[in-house]
């Protein structure tokens, strides 16, 4: 009945939406921020722990939201590990393109394993009302890295 929705709900999304690996509040953390989607009531909080070099050592989150938003937060927590703030910011921008348009600059992307990991979320671009589900955790993460407590809404 829903076969044509497998583009949106790929197995990796269903899996991470159901059993997120990073859905936990960090006991020790350097930054945290919340993201709210006032239109639907979805909410996410992200915690970040940095290593001695200031790179991300661990990311945890608590999300109240749909399969897309939970899977997106979980995959995000996975791929930002070991990255600098600059790196995360660049990746967030590419991911936003991916979510909005279904594609990104191919030349750079081919080299970016992280983006490949996030590519299953590209299906949201066909669902304008769902794009924000996928991008909300990233807004929260960027806010945390910038020392803000709340993600600014788009």
């Amino acid at each position: 009945m829903f076969d044509d929705l497998r583009d949106l709900y790929q197995e990796v999304i269903l899996d991470h939406g159901r059993r997120p690996r990073h859905a936990r509040r960090l006991e020790v953390f350097d930054a945290t921020a919340k993201g709210d989607n006032p239109m639907c009531g979805d909410r996410v909080q992200v915690w970040v722990h940095r290593d001695a070099d200031g790179r991300i050592a661990e990311t945890g989150f608590e999300a109240r939201g749909c399969a897309i938003s939970v899977a997106s937060a979980d995959l995000m927590a996975e791929v930002v590990n070991g990255r600098s703030d600059e790196d995360v910011k660049a990746l967030a921008e590419k991911f936003r393109d991916l979510a909005r348009t279904g594609t990104t600059d191919a030349q750079t992307d081919a080299q970016d394993e992280a983006l490949e990991r996030l590519r299953p979320l590209a299906g949201v671009h066909e669902f304008p009302s769902r794009v924000k589900c996928a991008t909300l955790p990233w807004h929260a993460l960027l806010a945390a890295l910038q020392g803000r407590s709340e993600a600014s809404s788009e």
Binding site: M1, F2, C66, A67, I68
Partner: protein, 419 residues
């Protein structure tokens, strides 16, 4: 609009759904290759041919501004605009058409009362009571009044079943400081009807006035503002099969007369000089500027359409749909219906154990089934229920039992999809 000369099915109190559906052009549409199953009427209802034709007809044959032209077109348009007011007055059994104020929607109606009655009649130190299950439109205006005018805002709780806690309401009224009770007549989330007559009696016994947000209720039941004992009654046109941009505030004449205007401008004055202005009488005092003329005419047509069908037939059809839907949903594993009020109508919120409401809505949409998912502009209620959002199916006069079956079948598949 003469309702007695048209064929009516209300005598039999049986609704010929196929005939009614034929009146709604949009219901023949397909969505994503599937026939449209529109279960979002509580958000906004679809429009019958009578409404579409009335609005197009007015634009094509008799349109001008109202209340100011000395020419044929303006006089005819004014007649049509005021006939719509009279139709609304008849629908809700208002004593006088002058008690019907046209506004944009329920939100504006409630803001009008919060502004003009709240600041013009209520005194700082008095209180307003709302309930936990209000739409934001009957919450936020009172918070604004509280902050601007020193009015206390009290919130009457609901019971576990999702009904208004009448004992708690009575306690909130106990100190005699409440000036207004503002409560929904039917919850847009739980489908709960509130006992309007009892609420009004209770409020009046404690010296308070009462406003009902009838946005949902007026769609499903005959409203008699006098039988209820209401002081104000608000509803919007677009949920009642009429157009957007037109709503109604009914108020008792003496209350409306005692209230200062809401917005200032043209059409609401008696005279204007550089020093001061005097106000027009009710209802025009509250209708500043060129009103939503075509939309009012459309609402008048919608009222005629609903009266032709008859509330008896509408209520019977929707009760049958609601019973059917509750039974079908209860049979699906993992589905939880939110709220189990004794007196409830065709607005059903639910959750599914394996899928978030947004995911449910996206999957159902693929089957051409339109439901709402989210907090339904009732965040305090969501908080009370301990959920962040729900999916909601809501019914109209054109909804069929087969559409509810389609919803139930698809929901069971949604659960399998997220297994």
């Amino acid at each position: 609009m003469n309702v007695t000369t048209r064929p009516s099915v209300s005598d039999a109190a049986v609704l010929d759904v196929a005939r009614i559906r034929a009146e709604f052009p949009i219901l023949g549409q397909t969505v994503r290759g599937k026939p449209l199953v529109y279960l979002d009427s509580a958000a906004s209802a679809q429009k019958p041919r009578a409404v579409i034709d009335a609005m197009v007809g007015a634009m094509e044959t008799q349109y001008a501004n109202v209340h100011r032209g000395l020419h044929w077109m303006s006089e005819r348009t004014t007649d049509a605009y005021e006939a719509a007011r009279a139709a609304v007055a008849r629908l809700i059994n208002a004593a006088d058409a002058a008690e019907v104020v046209f506004v944009r929607n329920s939100t504006e109606a409630i803001n009008l009362v919060a502004h003009s009655f709240g600041r013009g009649v209520l005194r700082p130190g008095q209180a307003v009571v709302v309930s936990e299950m209000e739409h934001h439109s009957n919450f936020v205006p009172w918070q604004m009044l509280r902050d601007a005018h020193g009015i206390e805002l009290r919130v009457a709780p609901i019971t576990e079943a999702g009904e208004l806690d009448m004992a708690a309401l009575e306690r909130l009224l106990g100190d005699g400081r409440v000036g207004l009770v503002a409560i929904t007549h039917m919850s847009n989330v739980l489908g709960t009807y509130t006992p309007a007559e009892r609420i009004a009696r209770l409020a009046h016994a404690h010296g308070a006035r009462v406003l009902f947000d009838g946005s949902q209720a007026v769609v499903h039941r005959r409203i008699d503002v006098h039988a209820i004992g209401a002081d104000f009654y608000a509803f919007t046109g677009h949920k009642l099969y009429g157009p957007t941009g037109i709503g109604v505030l009914w108020g008792r004449r003496e209350l409306l007369e005692a209230m200062p205007p809401f917005l200032g401008g043209g059409d609401m004055i008696s005279s204007v000089s550089i020093e001061r202005s005097t106000w027009a009488g009710v209802p025009h005092k509250f209708e500043a500027g060129t009103p939503a003329i075509l939309e009012a005419i459309g609402l008048g047509a919608a009222v005629g359409f609903v009266e032709d069908i008859g509330y008896e037939a509408i209520a019977a059809h929707e009760a049958s749909l609601t019973d059917h839907a509750l039974a079908r949903l209860a049979a699906i594993e993992g589905v939880q219906v939110i709220g189990r009020a004794q007196d409830r109508g065709g607005v059903i919120s639910f959750t599914l154990d394996r899928a978030h409401p947004h995911d449910i809505a996206t999957l159902l949409d693929r089957q051409g089934i339109a439901v709402r998912a989210g907090h339904h502009c009732a965040e305090p209620l969501m908080h009370r229920l301990g959920v962040s959002s729900t999916a909601r199916a809501s019914f109209g006069i054109y909804t069929t039992h087969a559409e509810i079956d389609a919803l139930a079948t698809a929901l069971a598949r949604v659960r399998e999809f997220f297994a």
